[in-house]
Structures are given as structure tokens and as C-alpha cells.
């Protein structure tokens, strides 16, 4: 039982943000004997499966799904509504015949205007959804390796990257 509770607030290495987080989150949980004897990968495995029927675990998954769905719905429905409203404006008002460098907006907006919006939404979603997963991992006392990064630094594998600090978790590629 205590397995899945252990760890989220443990010492996270010499990095500054980690030290700040300990002050906020309270005392460190002492690892169980069994956990201390496990290798790192075994411990991850263990922590993931140990509390299979615990409320905390199920709640964490539900919370993660809800957060991801909310994010996806806001962005997806938002984009579709933007498209509908924009095209209505272009068709029904005089807005469409305004020109931008000689090109009427009825052509410029659907021709190129939506592409930057799409790219921006994709970038924002990836950032936010990974932050959501970080948060979930933290609740379970795990830390999520920032995807795409090889385990190079201690900071990558530290739970210091919460939803608030996750913007720093960039993809180096």
C-alpha cells in the first residue's frame, strides 16, 4: 500500500527548482525496505502495478484522461468554430473583399491563414499533454522521462518538472 505513496517528494538532486519543490510539498516519504532493494526499473514496474486496486491509482488515471480530453476538446472544437465563424464572416460581410497585398481575404484566409494556427495548436497541445502526463506520474510517485530525450541529465528524470515548470521540458531534436 505504502509503495505507491512513497517517493514523490524525495530529494531530487542538486537542481534549484527541485529544492524549491521540497519546501512546497512537505516531508519526504521513507521508502519501504522492499522498494529500497529494487533496481530502478524494477521499482518503476513495481510502483506501477503494486496498487492496482488502489483508489488513488484509479483516480489518477481518470484525472489524466479527463485533463487530456478537456485539452483536446477545447483545441479541436475551438479550431472548428474558428473556421466556421471566419468563413461566415468572409461570406456574409464585406470583409471578404478586403485585399491584402492585392489578394482578397476570401482567398488569403483559407489559402494560407489557417496553417499557422494549426501549427501553433499542435505545438501547444504537445506541450500541455506532456505536462498532464508529468502530473499523473508525479501523483503515482514516478517521474516521466521527457519523451525523446536520452537519459543524459538528472534534471530530465527529476519530478521537478510539474505542470507549472514543464515548458522547460523541450524536445532537443
Amino acid at each position: 500500500m505504502s509503495d505507491s505513496d512513497a517517493g514523490p517528494t524525495g530529494p531530487t538532486g542538486p537542481t534549484g527548482p527541485a529544492a524549491l519543490r521540497i519546501a512546497v510539498r512537505g516531508p519526504e516519504a521513507v521508502p519501504t525496505v522492499r522498494e529500497a532493494l529494487l533496481t530502478r526499473s524494477q521499482a518503476a514496474d513495481h510502483a506501477r502495478t503494486a496498487g492496482a486496486d488502489s483508489d488513488q491509482r484509479a483516480q489518477a488515471v481518470r484525472g489524466l484522461i479527463r485533463a487530456q480530453l478537456r485539452l483536446a476538446l477545447i483545441l479541436g472544437v475551438g479550431f472548428f468554430c474558428t473556421v466556421v465563424v471566419t468563413s461566415l464572416l468572409l461570406v456574409t460581410t464585406g470583409l471578404g473583399s478586403l485585399t491584402l497585398w492585392g489578394v482578397p481575404l476570401t482567398w488569403a484566409v483559407p489559402g494560407v491563414g489557417f496553417f499557422p494556427v494549426l501549427l501553433g495548436l499542435a505545438w501547444y497541445f504537445r506541450r500541455r499533454s506532456e505536462a498532464n502526463e508529468q502530473l499523473w506520474a508525479e501523483v503515482l510517485g514516478l517521474s516521466l522521462q521527457s519523451p525523446g530525450t536520452r537519459p543524459r541529465t538528472a534534471a530530465v528524470a527529476s519530478p521537478a518538472q510539474t505542470a507549472q515548470t514543464a515548458p522547460t521540458a523541450e524536445d532537443p531534436r
Partner: protein, 510 residues
């Protein structure tokens, strides 16, 4: 034989040769290699491969053709195709990869544990794949006959043979490499002519001149009626719904997500992919606008029809000849024809791989031999169907397939990933209603003829995504909620698997 024909045939032969070379035997070893390249493909390569596979005849030739014929209506296609992958990224990319399934029917089995649902999904996926291959073969036919002077059956047969060889000997692994290369081939094949044509036409100086205002008018009188404003609006909206939701159900695109190493990589792949698509789609849009400048009058359109163009789908292929003379025209036409062939080959092989994967898992016990048998079936049927069906506009035909997958597969996939309350019964009825309603409406709409905007109600029959997709969603939800069945007992476990990061990405908290 004219110089242009020799150049075009040479370019097509080169594209086929490169495809054969990249797809040759020797790279794949196991059944896993065959189906999903053993899931070892890095994101940038996967993104190129998905883009290479996705950019089909409709994107390469059809978009510019639609812009020429229908004006701003054609502009919604690139936006819709790209937005489709935004929806894939938002709702499907990571969960689909984390499901660990090979094909869409595998995913459905994981979710519902229902043999009937599996059989149903197989039918829908195979039908979608077949329907999608037909316009590719049709595109190959018009490309080769319009520029290479070959008889209509040569193009489809050539595509079928090359694709069969690559798929039979290489499987998914080599297809991935070939697809990734195809994207860059296609981009170059449009980029270089676009730059040359822009320089020749003096685009930027002449843009301001009043006589080119013709390029911006909504539709050409000779090619389409820009009649009812609301019909036009509902048509554009319907296309957006179909393209955005339909991408979720494209079998050849979704199978690519299984080749990512993990869910996070699937998201990175999709983000990168959106960039590649935007980069590509600027070109057909630009070429479509130039085509309107060149042929933007009634006489111009008549001239286009007279130059051996079978339809406006050949607009891009005829553009260099209209702007340049002699060798420059021959070489640029050959480049575009080669790129177009890359589009037919890559999309067709992707579809054949996914259809044969599904067929072999369902009917031939998932062996490599079954995969090869499936591949044979996957290409032969469209070849026969394609030679029997009439000619539709490429982009229109592909939009019909998107409408079909958006209605039949998207509701079940989306709700399957995100809603615990979904039952096998609800999924079954949603899929059935979506498939039947969208197919019936479109067949009826075809009988009325494609092309000009119809008034209100008729237009909803020609492009029915606007009501088919919500209908399928509603049926799925209502049957799940009020039907007698309970959601599968393992739903929570599956949900956790779909939405939580893979074990490999996890470390203990210290």
C-alpha cells in the same frame, strides 16, 4: 513521340526504379518487420513517411484542379487535410500507439473483445482502402495519358505492378523508407516548377494588375455555377467535417502510428507531420491560383480542354507547357509527372499494406504468406473496379472516401478511446448507420451529378458529412447508453493502457 512524352516517360521510369530499389528485398526479417517495421522508426522519418503516404493524387493534382474549376472551394481541401491531422494528434496519436495493436480491427478487438465488431471493422476498413485506391489508379491513368501519350490502362497497371513488387518483397519496413523518400520527391517535384513558373509569369508584379482580378473571382462561369451562397457554405463546411474527422479512419495513415517507438514519439511525429503538410500544401494552392491566371477565362478553359487535358485535374501537368516553350517545358512537365507518380505509388502502397495487413490477420492467420496473398487481393479489386467506373474529379472522389471513414470509423474510434460508457452494441450500430447513410447519400448524390453547387437539400446529399457524422455519433452514444449491453468489463484496464505513458518512459521518483 514528342520530346515531352520522352521526358515524362523517363521521369516516371526513374521514379518507379527508385521505388523498386528502395523497396527491394533484404531489409525485412520478421513478421513484425513486415507489418509495422518492428516499431523502430524514428519520428522524423515516420513523419516524412506519413506525409509521403498521405499526399495522394488528390493533393498533388486534385487541389490545384479544384481551385482552377471551383475557386475558393478548392482552398478548403488543404486546410481540411491538415486539420485532420490536428484531430489525429489531439485525440488519437498517443492512445493509438499505446494500444499496441497492429491494425484498426486489432484496436477494436482490444476495446470490445467482440468477434462481430472485428468482422464489421474489417469490412469497413477494407472497403475504405479499396475505394481510396481507385482514384489513385485513375490519377495514374490521366497523368500518363495526358502527358506521356500512353493509353489509359498503362498507368494503373504500372502502379499496380510496382506496388505489388515492393509490398511483396519488402513489407512495411522498406515501405517506410520508400514513403519517407517519396515525400521529399513530391515536394521537390512541385517546388521547382512553382519557382520557375513564378519567375516566368512575373507573379509579384502582375498580381496588382486589374486584368488578373479574374483569378480571384469565386468560380469560373464556364466550369461551375457559383449559385446559392448557402449551398456553397454548406458544401465547404461539409468538406471540412469530412476531412477533419475522416483522417481518423484512414487505415493506411493509422497503421503508421503503430510504427512509432512510443506514445510520446507518436505525438512528436504528428506535430512534425503538420509542418511537412503545411509546407507542401502551399505549393498546390499557389499553382492553382497561377492556373486561374493562365486559364482564368472562358476561352482559356476551352484551350485547356483542347490541349489533351481530360479534366481540370491535369491543370498542373499542363501548366509548364502553357508558360514555357521547348526544353524547359518538357523538363518541368516531366518533373511534375514524376512527382505525381510518386504520389500514386506511395499512397497506393500504403493502402495495399494496410488492407493486406487487415485481410491477412482476419482471414490468413497473420502469416507473411497471408500478407502477400492479402496484398494481391488489395490491389486487384480496385484495378478491376477502377477500370469499370466513370471518371470523377480526383479530390472529389477522395473526399467521398473521407466522408465514408468519417461516418463509419471516426465515431467508434474517438468514443472508443475517450468514453468508458461505449458498448460493443453501440459501436456496432454507430458503424453500421455511419457506413450505410454516408454511402447511400453519396451514391444518390453522384446520380445527381457532381460539380456545380446544388441548392440546399440536394447539396446535403452530394456532400453528406455535415449530417452523417453527427448521426453516427448520436447513434453510437444512444445505443451504448440505452441499449441492453454493459460496457466491456475490462474497459478501465484498457483506458489506463491507452492513456498512460509506457513503462519504458517511467522512472522511480528519485
Amino acid at each position: 513521340m514528342t520530346g515531352e512524352q520522352i521526358a515524362v516517360l523517363g521521369a516516371v521510369a526513374l521514379v518507379c526504379a527508385v521505388t523498386l530499389l528502395l523497396g527491394g528485398p533484404g531489409l525485412s526479417r520478421s513478421t513484425g518487420d513486415f507489418f509495422v517495421a518492428s516499431r523502430r522508426v524514428p519520428p522524423w522519418m515516420n513523419a516524412s513517411a506519413i506525409a509521403g503516404e498521405f499526399l495522394s493524387a488528390a493533393s498533388f493534382l486534385g487541389v490545384a484542379g479544384l481551385i482552377l474549376a471551383h475557386g475558393t472551394y478548392g482552398l478548403w481541401f488543404p486546410v481540411g487535410y491538415t486539420a485532420g491531422f490536428l484531430i489525429v494528434l489531439l485525440f488519437m496519436a498517443a492512445p493509438l500507439r499505446r494500444s499496441g495493436a497492429y491494425t484498426i480491427p486489432d484496436f477494436v478487438v482490444l476495446r470490445f473483445r467482440s468477434a462481430m465488431m472485428r468482422r464489421m471493422t474489417v469490412i469497413v476498413v477494407v472497403a475504405a482502402g479499396w475505394l481510396y485506391i481507385v482514384p489513385q489508379l485513375h490519377g495514374a491513368s490521366i497523368a500518363l495519358s495526358a502527358t506521356g501519350g500512353a493509353p489509359g490502362w498503362v498507368g494503373p497497371l504500372l502502379v499496380a505492378l510496382v506496388v505489388l513488387f515492393v509490398v511483396l518483397t519488402g513489407g512495411m519496413r522498406s515501405v517506410t523508407l520508400a514513403q519517407a523518400v517519396q515525400y521529399w520527391v513530391k515536394l521537390t517535384a512541385l517546388l521547382v516548377p512553382t519557382v520557375f513558373i513564378l519567375l516566368q509569369v512575373g507573379f509579384w508584379e502582375r498580381l496588382e494588375l486589374p486584368e488578373f482580378n479574374g483569378a480571384w473571382s469565386a468560380g469560373l462561369a464556364s466550369l461551375s455555377d457559383s449559385g446559392d451562397q448557402w449551398g456553397e457554405f454548406s458544401r465547404s463546411l461539409s468538406v471540412m467535417v469530412a476531412l477533419m474527422m475522416g483522417t481518423l479512419g484512414l487505415p493506411h495513415v493509422l497503421v503508421r502510428f503503430y510504427t512509432n517507438p512510443d506514445g510520446g514519439a507518436a505525438r512528436r511525429t504528428t506535430t512534425f507531420l503538420l509542418g511537412l503538410l503545411v509546407l507542401f500544401y502551399l505549393l498546390p494552392v499557389l499553382l492553382g491560383v497561377i492556373a486561374r491566371m493562365v486559364w482564368g477565362t472562358t476561352t482559356g478553359a476551352g484551350a485547356l480542354a483542347g490541349t489533351g487535358g481530360l479534366s481540370h485535374d491535369t491543370a498542373i501537368l499542363r501548366l509548364p507547357a502553357a508558360v514555357f516553350d521547348g526544353l524547359a517545358s518538357d523538363l518541368l512537365t516531366a518533373l511534375i509527372a514524376g512527382g505525381a507518380f510518386a504520389a500514386f505509388l506511395s499512397t497506393t502502397s500504403g493502402l495495399v499494406v494496410s488492407v493486406s495487413g487487415v485481410l491477412s490477420q482476419e482471414f490468413f492467420s497473420g502469416t507473411v504468406r497471408g500478407f502477400r496473398l492479402g496484398a494481391l487481393l488489395a490491389i486487384t479489386v480496385p484495378l478491376v473496379v477502377g477500370s469499370a467506373t466513370s471518371e470523377l474529379a480526383l479530390a472529389g472522389a477522395v473526399a467521398m472516401v473521407f466522408t465514408f471513414t468519417a461516418s463509419a470509423l471516426a465515431p467508434v474510434m474517438l468514443l472508443g478511446v475517450w468514453w468508458r460508457g461505449l458498448t460493443a452494441q453501440g459501436a456496432f450500430w454507430g458503424m453500421t448507420v455511419g457506413a450505410v447513410s454516408s454511402l447511400t447519400a453519396q451514391v444518390l448524390g453522384l446520380a445527381l451529378g457532381e460539380g456545380p453547387v446544388q441548392d440546399g437539400a440536394t447539396q446535403l446529399l452530394v456532400s453528406p458529412a455535415l449530417w452523417c457524422v453527427p448521426l453516427a455519433f448520436a447513434v453510437t452514444v444512444l445505443v451504448s447508453r440505452f441499449g441492453r449491453q454493459q460496457p466491456p468489463s475490462h474497459t478501465d484496464a484498457v483506458m489506463e493502457r491507452l492513456h498512460t505513458p509506457e513503462l519504458a518512459a517511467l522512472r522511480p521518483g528519485r
